[in-house]
Subunit: 427 residues, 2 copies
Amino acid sequence: MKAEVFPDQDDLRRSMMALGKAAKSAAGILAQSSDAQRNAGLLAAAAALRARQNEILAANGADMAEAREKGLTEALLDRLELNPQRVEAMAVGLEEIAKLPDPLNRVLESTTRPNGLRIEKVSVPLGVIGIIYESRPNVTADAGALCLKAGNAAILRGGSESARSSAAILEALQNGLVAAGLPESAIQRPPTSDREAVGILLKMSDSVDVIIPRGGRGLIERVMNESRVPVLAHLDGLCHTYIHAAADLDKARAIALNAKMRRTGICGATETLLVDRAAVASHLQPVLRDLAEAGCELRGDESVRALVPDVKAATDADWDTEYLAPILSVRVVDDLVEAVAHINRHGSHHTECIVTEDAAAAQRFMAEVDAGIVLHNASTQFADGGEFGMGAEIGISTGKLHARGPVGAQQLTSTKYRVHGSGQVRP
Amino acid sequence: MKAEVFPDQDDLRRSMMALGKAAKSAAGILAQSSDAQRNAGLLAAAAALRARQNEILAANGADMAEAREKGLTEALLDRLELNPQRVEAMAVGLEEIAKLPDPLNRVLESTTRPNGLRIEKVSVPLGVIGIIYESRPNVTADAGALCLKAGNAAILRGGSESARSSAAILEALQNGLVAAGLPESAIQRPPTSDREAVGILLKMSDSVDVIIPRGGRGLIERVMNESRVPVLAHLDGLCHTYIHAAADLDKARAIALNAKMRRTGICGATETLLVDRAAVASHLQPVLRDLAEAGCELRGDESVRALVPDVKAATDADWDTEYLAPILSVRVVDDLVEAVAHINRHGSHHTECIVTEDAAAAQRFMAEVDAGIVLHNASTQFADGGEFGMGAEIGISTGKLHARGPVGAQQLTSTKYRVHGSGQVRP
């Protein structure tokens, strides 16, 4: 279960090339497979996760022990930890993905031209997808399963703290693939969790079609800078809730509290609260009181602290920080224009909310804010594929190309035009 | 009209940064503009092209003179040359783009969730698009207009041989923009056609949202390697026509001739003909005779030359060469499996055709060939946005992310989820 050691970079390179070649070959088989075959693989993988629960928990125990020694935060330890319920949830997740409609061979457009050519646009797999993510072992199962559902081969590189857990989960998934007659190399991981393996992966444009990085700005920037493979970026969420001058107080209180505190460790959690100057007198104190009572640490600008003195002073860095913790930065803005400018400058283009009873203000906010998801009078924590009715997701894409917002099985496809003729030539 | 000289790289960098900032600001205005406003800009630009025809032709004359001195091929000179008809065609092209339906604010999906949240997926602009293309001055008008139609700001970098022509066309477009009350910086070009300007553009991820390179493998690879901005690749077309064992002879003759010779300089022109061994005796000679009579140079493998001795010997390089000229490489393959393998190895994932009366073989070819467009019994020269009923296009995307096949105004958009609530919080 221990990661291989590659003292020689050439060995690692050769090993990665072999991995890529195997993935490409598996992708060719998956592209021609039926939905039923791939679903059988998912169900067999779910069964294998259950059958190998003890090995998975033992591997996770070793990861957790090392992570505690390293002094990881409680939030990160919680993301890393597995237990029987969480293994069962992974297995159920795979079964749910098997139930989703076939994302492939959908006829997305169809037209017959005056010359008789029948043109169909159909969904096809992307090919080989490399996914680079945090130390969250469950993502190994979810991401591998979504790639498989959409006929793609996956190369999964989770955070190094979760290496043993991910390897154990991957072994179960591969057992399932083989049991269903699918190639084991449909889901793989690099032979080592060394950073160097990621560097090589990002240059494997001959065998890898898409790289999906999930994580903070540092990871995304490294990947965008180094990758020679097209990137579908999933930046963490630096999300805002904006209480407009015309906000209903009850809605503002409920949404701000839920958006920040329901779960603080997810990407749709609000990290900064913006409040219109005109709403400060009426809204600021009750909203912040709710948050403080729920255990949230508040960091405000001078206007906030003038009214609520026990709030800590926010520094410049606070406006650019995704806490993933019960901490909220709070800023007073003059108006909608200033709110939009703040969000477009400091946000991560993920999910942004306005609370207002003024429909025109809501419309303007939703048009001018540059984000994958914009909400009016609803919690930013709804940023989730399941809540959108899409089923499981890899994450929320913050890029503008290909897919923006929740990325599920359908978003992991490409398209192809099929043109049916009867001998037509172009005049 | 002459390109500025930047002896100092820092000056060039500052100038490019200013260009990017102006483009981003223009993109913000365009994103909130109406279709009517953008169409008015297109019509005013068309009028300005006509009004400035003399300046444009004079600039093009200077480009042509220099290009002839440099010894450019006839095919490249033809791409570069403008005349009154071609200027008029550009103006008409802009008017046609103005007539296309609004690609923005389309509600692509709409759903109301059980909790009452109404979720809409709408089309929005991509933002700032950088386009790097060949020395074809007309692309300056087409690409700029398509970007504008979709609410994007454009930075256009045509080949250096067309620098004066492009500058003159751009000036006309900008006149039109200003006349219609739109920002001049909605369509711009780098201040110099130095290669260094491209290098800087590819790193301007703060202001540029997408890079679209159009051209050969060398350009695409440079861009994929250097770009820190997401890339929508338009590789030239190394397209194949495959005559299957069950091909109808008349269709095979008509399609092969048209696919190669209708126009040899376009990306959908066939460059390699594959012929099943079982069809060689019946099909090879008549098909090649037609091509030779039309003035096509033929380069064949040994099996071809055994039957048609006056065909030149193809070298390994021929299978990877996009001639864009009346030259065709011809290879005999054992069967469909070998044909698909050849295409997936040597093709550019652009447009591929099978000629056959065997529906199962056609279906298999179309499933297994990895290309944006696959055709059954129709000429590869149909690879064109207009022929697909889409109107004008930037080109044919050969990448798998975002858009594959013809890229028109609709493909130059991104999406955004708008979520309408009434105070919902997530349980």
